[in-house]
């Protein structure tokens, strides 16, 4: 029978299916390794399962071809008939499974990709977060370091400024927006007479100014210019006394320029001021003295001539009326001479001829004995508190008596009628720099603040013409100065000892107890506390 033999096909099928079986198992093994080593890989999972279907396929085919060949050839066609449907079914299912896997895999892959992407993003976010956290921690650490460093610097600076603030001799103060004191250093408290800080905090600065205008100038300058420099003013202390201050202050401003207070330094210049006043005064007195001395000297000679001729005329003239007139001329000329000699003694023109060691107490007693009578007529008592251990002074007794007389006369004039004049003698310090003080106080009218600074001026008087020449105090000033002493006035006096006795004015004469240079120098420097 002719025709195409089918056995070549069978041979190829037989070996081919065996080959397929072997290959599919090799593939399965590879896939399995791949899947195991790449557990997260969807593709390998897919490949693995695909291999499974291939294995199933090759099994079915090998049974379909190889087994069939064997069975038919060995004469078991019945067995083949039983096995054939299983082989065919497995074949079909393998196809379908492979197809399903293939269709399904990319979807899984996509889902996995999405998950992977999410995971990646999450990881990225985590990493970023970690970096940020790291940075933050670093920053925190550095911040801590910085804060520590700054705090240290701040503490140092604070200590420095605190020392300056607490230890300064000048007052340092801070005011708030309302012009009330918000902080002040111990010197400032001291200056204003406060003991406790809480008493002064919150007080308006305004109340310390003696003159309201000064406060206005100060305030205006702070607000308009933002500062005030070397402003001289007077402050009231808490005990009522006044002090001279020089203030330099500046406004405290916020960033936007609004003023929220002021801060400043005040220097107490009271002592300085008093010293300068005194200096100016003594300079003035010296120049006036020179002038007066010149005039007095020039006047002395013509006055002597007038007096001489008047006395000559008096002897020659018998006419009573003319004689009386000549006597008036003589008297007034003598007056003039007295004034001139007063002037000369003010100007230290006369030499210290009668200098000796004088016991001031005795001198005072003698003088008082002389004037006592006239004083008593006006109801004026003289009370003495004399220091028994008073050292002697080197002085011209006559001149000192003259000073005393001047002071007593002034006291009498100030009292008018009924009152008391007190005289103290005191001494201060050790022998080497011992000072003798004579204090004359009266219960009179006191001295007006306005004229107080002028009473030592020559020819300054408040008394009616003819009664006072205004030379008394200036002459006294000259004499005391000559003795290396000082003369001061306190009206009203601040000491209780005087106030309790109703004393309105005291004159304090201070003289060095010994003539040693040291004492004199000290005396010159001495400044009255009044």
């Amino acid at each position: 029978m002719s025709g195409l033999p089918l056995y070549p096909i069978y041979i190829v099928d037989f070996f081919g299916s065996l080959c397929m079986l072997v290959l599919s198992f090799i593939a399965l093994r590879y896939a399995w390794i791949l899947k195991r080593t790449h557990t997260r890989n969807v593709f390998y999972t897919y490949i693995f399962w695909l291999c499974m279907t291939f294995v199933a396929l090759s099994i079915s085919r090998s049974t379909g071809h190889a087994l069939r060949g064997l069975l038919l050839y060995s004469g078991y066609p019945y067995l083949w008939k039983k096995l054939a449907p299983y082989s065919g079914g497995l074949n079909s299912i393998a196809f379908i499974s492979a197809a399903v896997l293939t269709f399904y895999f990319p979807n899984v892959q996509k889902v996995m990709e999405v998950i992977k992407e999410d995971a990646r993003r999450l990881k990225e976010a985590k990493e970023e977060l970690e970096i940020a956290h790291e940075k933050l921690r670093d920053f925190n650490l550095r911040l801590e370091e910085k804060v520590k460093e700054r705090t240290r610097a701040l503490v140092l600076s604070e200590q420095k400024f605190r020392r300056l603030f607490e230890g300064s001799r000048d007052a340092i103060f801070f005011c708030d927006q309302d012009g009330c004191i918000s902080d002040i250093n111990p010197s400032g408290m001291n200056m204003l007479g406060f003991k406790v800080k809480s008493e002064i905090i919150g007080l308006p600065m305004k109340q310390f100014f003696v003159r309201h205008e000064d406060w206005e100038i100060y305030n205006k300058s702070i607000y308009d210019q933002g500062y005030i420099v070397d402003f001289e003013t007077q402050f009231k202390r808490v005990d009522g006394s006044t002090i001279y201050l020089i203030i330099t202050a500046g406004a405290i401003k916020e960033k936007n320029g609004t003023i929220i207070g002021c801060e400043g330094i005040a220097k107490d210049i009271t002592t300085f001021k008093r010293m300068t006043e005194k200096l100016i005064y003594s300079e003035k007195m010296a120049s006036i003295g020179q002038l007066a001395a010149g005039i007095a000297h020039e006047l002395n000679t013509p006055l002597g001539i007038i007096l001489g001729y008047t006395q000559l005329l008096k002897e020659d003239i018998e006419e009573q009326e003319l004689l009386e007139e000549l006597k008036i001329i003589e008297k007034q000329t003598k007056n003039c001479k007295r004034i001139v000699s007063d002037l000369l003694s003010f100007a230290r023109s006369s030499e210290r001829r009668y200098i000796s060691k004088v016991q001031i107490n005795d001198c005072i007693k003698q003088t008082v004995t002389i004037v006592k009578h006239t004083f008593e007529l006006k109801g004026i008592d003289i009370v003495l508190y004399l220091d028994k251990d008073l050292p002697k002074v080197i002085a011209d007794e006559n001149k000192f008596t003259q000073v005393l007389m001047n002071l007593l006369n002034n006291a009498r004039d100030a009292i008018g009628e009924n009152g008391t004049v007190y005289i103290w003698t005191k001494h201060e310090g050790e022998t080497e720099d011992c000072l003798v003080k004579v204090i004359v106080g009266d219960t009179g009218e006191g001295i007006n603040e306005k004229i107080k600074r002028r009473i030592f001026d020559p020819f300054f008087t408040t008394k009616p013409a003819g009664q006072g020449t205004g030379l008394g105090l200036s002459v006294s000033y000259g004499i005391i100065k000559e003795h290396g002493g000082t003369i001061d006035v306190c009206s009203p006096p601040s000491d209780k000892e005087y106030v309790s006795r109703g004393i309105k004015t005291i004159f304090i004469v201070t003289l060095p107890a010994s003539t040693s240079e040291k004492a004199k120098k000290r005396l010159k420097q001495l400044i009255s506390v009044c």
């Binding site: 060949g69 379908i96 990709e113």
Partner: protein, 157 residues
Amino acid sequence: MKDYIKNIITVFIFIFLILLDSINAEAVQIHGPPEGFFVHIMGHIFFAASLIFILYLLEHHPQKHQNGWRWLRYSFWFFLAWNLDTLMVHIVYRRMPYSSLYLPLNMWEHKLLPPYNLEHVLYYIGRFDHLLCIPAMLFFVLSLRSFLQSHSEDETL
């Protein structure tokens, strides 16, 4: 180790299910002879479609010129060709009259009888389908081996 056991169990379940399915099919529902044929044909079509689909994906794969992927592509092309070939053989075989085949008990005497037309020729040539499926499988194995060697983590589509 656990994975290994799991895989073996899965394989057994897989095989068991296939067997069970065929037994159940007989028990629950009656499926006549043509149904098996149709299922088989549809399986072929379904498989071919899935191959076209995966080949489409592979053609767009960024690393398609790397060895593993190239082998895989060749493999799938061959599988597709083999699949179409067998599909064709199934169809042609069904259309052929019984008289075209001489199938005595002795296998060695089996013959394709004349007169021959195109279908006979196609059938005869098409029956050498192992010439397609062995290269397909070979490429597949090569591809896997290449993947194994490359150690790369991202052999994904």
